[in-house]
């Protein structure tokens, strides 16, 4: 180091390592960044899943007290936080958004590659902070993924309100910044970097889903950031944004005054409802593309699909009050939120009918990806129907904070989004890693997951109608719940099957990555642009930018030589003459 010669030697030796770092660690390539996101979020899913298993183990025999009450609430809180923020949100945008946007719009990379890398490297510390919160005195946050004030605002309010809650807020604040970097990059890229001939009206629905998601994120995440900032001030600087006057904690009056706890709920749900749609619009797009490809039919009602995505996105900002029916709101306001919420069912139903119509009378290819996509539709319908019950404020007064709500959102959001992520993974794995996943294992994974999900969450509706409240530590001690106790034990059994089935996926994923058969360019005979690039695509994706001549859903066109026409195949006469097309 001291002598010039040593320095030169050092620089020389560092060279290959540096290029490794630039290739795999601080890469600017959207595909590498997407994979980094995929691996980290997959790890977070395992963390979140393990917490769920812990909760179910406790609920299988609550008297044994496998978890103590505080720990149980912390497990529930961190399960929700990890799954919603650090798995679903991030894998859909960070992993799928990054890998797919440039490939599906025919661009060499994102509009702002450096910002893209920065986004991942802002996300990563937020993960570390969240994980660190498990090991601080008092443990992680324990006030639910919604962290309602004042519980979350007063450090001495509950076992899960200590340092862990502060780290929770900091981690999510940083995550939001990282997501904002991603969102503005996605929007700019989709608007500005499309291949020649790819008008917005020819975008694959996956890209439309991500596009609307990014708009929602851009407008709703700052609202949570504002709330988190105020929460952190309340916790650490003595302010009283969310802490009301005269609050008693442990028999003592807290020295705060003038705050409004309910404002936290307004801010949280103004963010929170768009957020839950952020978790479903991307999946809706993915599922549309997978269903169309394996039905060998154009997606039914493309324009209606795009408009309903946009309508859902817009309406999602007008319905947050349906989470607050029991907060003492004026019944007229409640009725307004009931109506706006029920209106969302219309575009949702349009989408469902379009998926079914696409499948109708199709020569369906039952790949694992298709099975998961159809599974998504089933779960979305089941969960959407219970949503309509909950939207009626008089019904919700009874069902609010019961297992009925847990069943609702696990179907419509958690499980549905998970199924779309699986569909997308089985579908795009060949493009991401250049190898095929094992289909028989995939189908076993599908069957067990599908049964596991229904077995776990369907009975929760009945627990809810029996009045069992969510986050209840010892349901077995309440006489009125005695009759549903066996059901609760059955749920734990189903949950373990569900959890075990995911091990099959993890095995399949990694063994295919290392040893799966090599993938060709276009193994599914699909139309979208990513299938015209190598598997996996090199830096820059294509040697020459692709040129687009048609929309992505020309499947089974009468008179065409093949049952698919990639977007790069020139218009009309070319296919009649049996000319396969640009990419083969």
């Amino acid at each position: 180091m001291d002598t010039p010669a040593a320095a030169a030697h050092e620089a020389h030796a560092a060279h290959p390592r540096e290029s490794f770092i630039r290739h795999y660690i601080f890469s600017l390539d959207h595909k590498t960044i997407g994979k980094q996101y995929y691996f980290v979020t997959l790890f977070m899913a395992i963390v979140g899943g393990s917490l769920a298993m812990l909760m179910r183990a406790h609920l299988a025999s609550p008297e044994r007290g496998i978890l103590d009450p505080g720990t149980y609430l912390q497990a529930a809180t961190m399960h929700g936080t990890v799954m919603i923020f650090f798995f679903l949100t991030t894998i859909l945008t960070g992993a799928f958004g990054n890998v797919l946007i440039p490939l599906m719009i025919g661009a060499g990379d994102m509009a702002f590659p450096f910002l893209n890398m920065l986004s991942f490297w802002t996300f990563f510390p937020s993960v570390l902070i969240l994980l660190a919160s498990f090991f601080v005195p008092g443990g992680p946050a324990g006030n639910g993924w919604t962290s309602y004030a004042p519980l979350s605002a007063v450090p001495q309010a509950s076992p899960g309100s200590g340092l862990g809650q502060t780290l929770w807020a900091v981690a999510i604040l940083i995550l939001m910044i990282s997501s904002l970097f991603g969102s503005l990059n996605f929007l700019t890229t989709i608007i500005n970097m499309r291949a020649r001939g790819l008008s917005m009206g020819r975008l694959p629905l996956t890209i439309w889903g991500i596009f609307i998601t990014a708009i929602l994120a851009l407008l709703s995440f700052p609202v949570l950031m504002a709330a988190l900032t105020m929460l952190l001030f309340d916790r650490t600087a003595g302010t009283s944004f969310f802490i009301p006057s005269g609050l008693l904690v442990g028999g003592q009056i807290v020295p705060h005054n003038g705050g409004e706890a309910l404002l936290w709920q307004h801010l949280f749900w103004f963010f929170g409802h768009p957020e839950v749609y952020i978790l479903i619009l991307g999946p809706m797009g993915i599922v549309s593309d997978v269903i169309s490809t394996f039905s060998r039919k154009p997606i039914f009602g493309y324009t209606a699909m795009v408009l309903s995505l946009a309508a859902i996105g817009f309406l999602s900002f007008l319905v947050w009050g349906h989470h607050m029916f029991v907060s003492g709101m004026n019944p007229v306001l409640g009725a307004t939120f009931t109506i706006s919420t029920m209106i969302i069912a219309i575009p949702s139903a349009i989408k469902t009918f379009n998926w079914l119509t696409t499948l109708w009378q199709a020569r369906i290819q039952f790949t694992t990806a298709l099975l998961f996509a159809v599974g998504f539709v089933s779960l979305f319908v089941t969960g959407g129907l219970s949503g309509i019950f909950l939207a009626a404020s008089p019904v919700d007064l009874y069902f609010h904070d019961t297992y009925f709500v847990v069943a609702h959102f696990h179907f419509v959001m958690a499980a549905a989004a998970l199924f779309a992520i699986f569909a997308g993974t089985y579908y795009w794995f060949p493009k991401m890693f250049g190898r095929m996943m094992n289909e028989p294992l995939g189908k076993i994974h599908f069957v067990l997951t599908f049964l596991g999900i229904y077995g776990t969450f369907y009975p929760m509706h009945f627990l809810g109608t029996h009045g069992m409240s969510r986050r209840l530590y010892t349901p077995s001690t309440y006489p009125f719940l005695a009759s549903v106790q066996p059901l609760d034990i059955f749920i734990s059994g189903a949950a373990f099957v569900l959890g075990a089935a995911q091990l099959i996926f993890i095995f399949n994923f990694f063994s295919s990555m290392l040893r799966g058969p090599r993938a060709e360019r276009n193994p599914w005979h699909a139309n979208t642009l990513e299938w015209t690039a190598d598997s996996p695509p090199p830096h820059g994706n294509w040697p020459e930018p692709p040129v687009v001549y048609r929309w992505p859903y020309d499947y089974s066109v009468p008179g065409a030589a093949e049952d698919y026409l990639p977007q790069t195949v020139p218009a009309a006469p070319a296919y009649a003459s049996g000319h396969g097309g640009g990419e083969q």
């Binding site: 910002l115 700019t188 851009l218 820059g540």
Partner: protein, 217 residues
């Protein structure tokens, strides 16, 4: 509109693989993709900034809506605003004018105008932040602190958050000032100046909004 956007997009794919440039982060790749034509690149950068501004605007919408919600409370005690805020507002408006003047001078090829305009804007920006700190000092001297009561909390929160964003703008001005003095910018190479100007005007507008909402009690 779609066809216009579409043509902008075509150049993007032209960024070939390899060529050494792709992995050298921070070199031309930071803010704008290097493969696009300059006009398209400027357009892309401005659009990215516009989305960032939308997010910042939402942050302030959330803060101010909460503030308005709080004011409904019975025990609401307004803070008398320090008079220096009026002076500060004038300074910020002047700095915005300086940025705009600099940008227009650059547009007509006057590198000297750009230089002095930006320098003046940066100086006025620093003066604004100093003035804000002085306002905080005056309040603190009267015993009005962050945690004193809701209105004071909001006062510090809103001015502080605005100040942090303005500090970001000052850093951006600081980043392009050396280039302006070296004569690195020209009418054909003006994107960084345009971006700074847009951001700066946005923050001036944001301050007017914040100030009005704090004044109106």
């Amino acid at each position: 509109m779609p066809t216009k956007l579409l043509e902008k997009g075509t150049a993007s794919g032209a960024r070939g693989p390899g060529a050494g440039g792709r992995n050298r982060f921070g070199r031309g790749e930071g803010a704008v993709p290097s493969g696009q034509a300059p006009a398209a690149r400027a357009h892309t950068a401005v659009m990215g900034l516009a989305f960032a501004l939308a997010a910042i605007a939402m942050l302030f919408v959330a803060f101010t809506m909460t503030y308005l919600g709080h004011r409904q409370e019975g025990d609401w005690k307004p803070v008398p605003l320090p008079g220096i805020l009026w002076l500060d507002t004038a300074i910020l408006l002047a700095s915005s004018a300086a940025v705009e003047w600099a940008r227009r001078r650059l547009g007509s090829g006057d590198a000297r105008g750009l230089r002095w305009g930006l320098t003046a804007a940066g100086t006025l920006g620093v003066a604004f932040l100093a003035g804000q700190l002085l306002a905080w000092r005056q309040l603190a001297d009267q015993g009005v602190y962050l945690a004193s009561h809701p209105h004071s909390s909001f006062f510090y929160l809103l001015t502080g958050t605005h100040g942090v964003h303005l500090l970001g703008g000052l850093i951006a001005v600081g980043a392009i000032l050396p280039g302006a003095w070296r004569g690195a910018y020209s009418p054909a190479r003006s994107t960084p100046v345009t971006l700074v100007a847009i951001y700066w005007h946005f923050l001036t507008g944001l301050w007017l909004y914040v100030f009005a909402i704090l004044l109106w009690q």
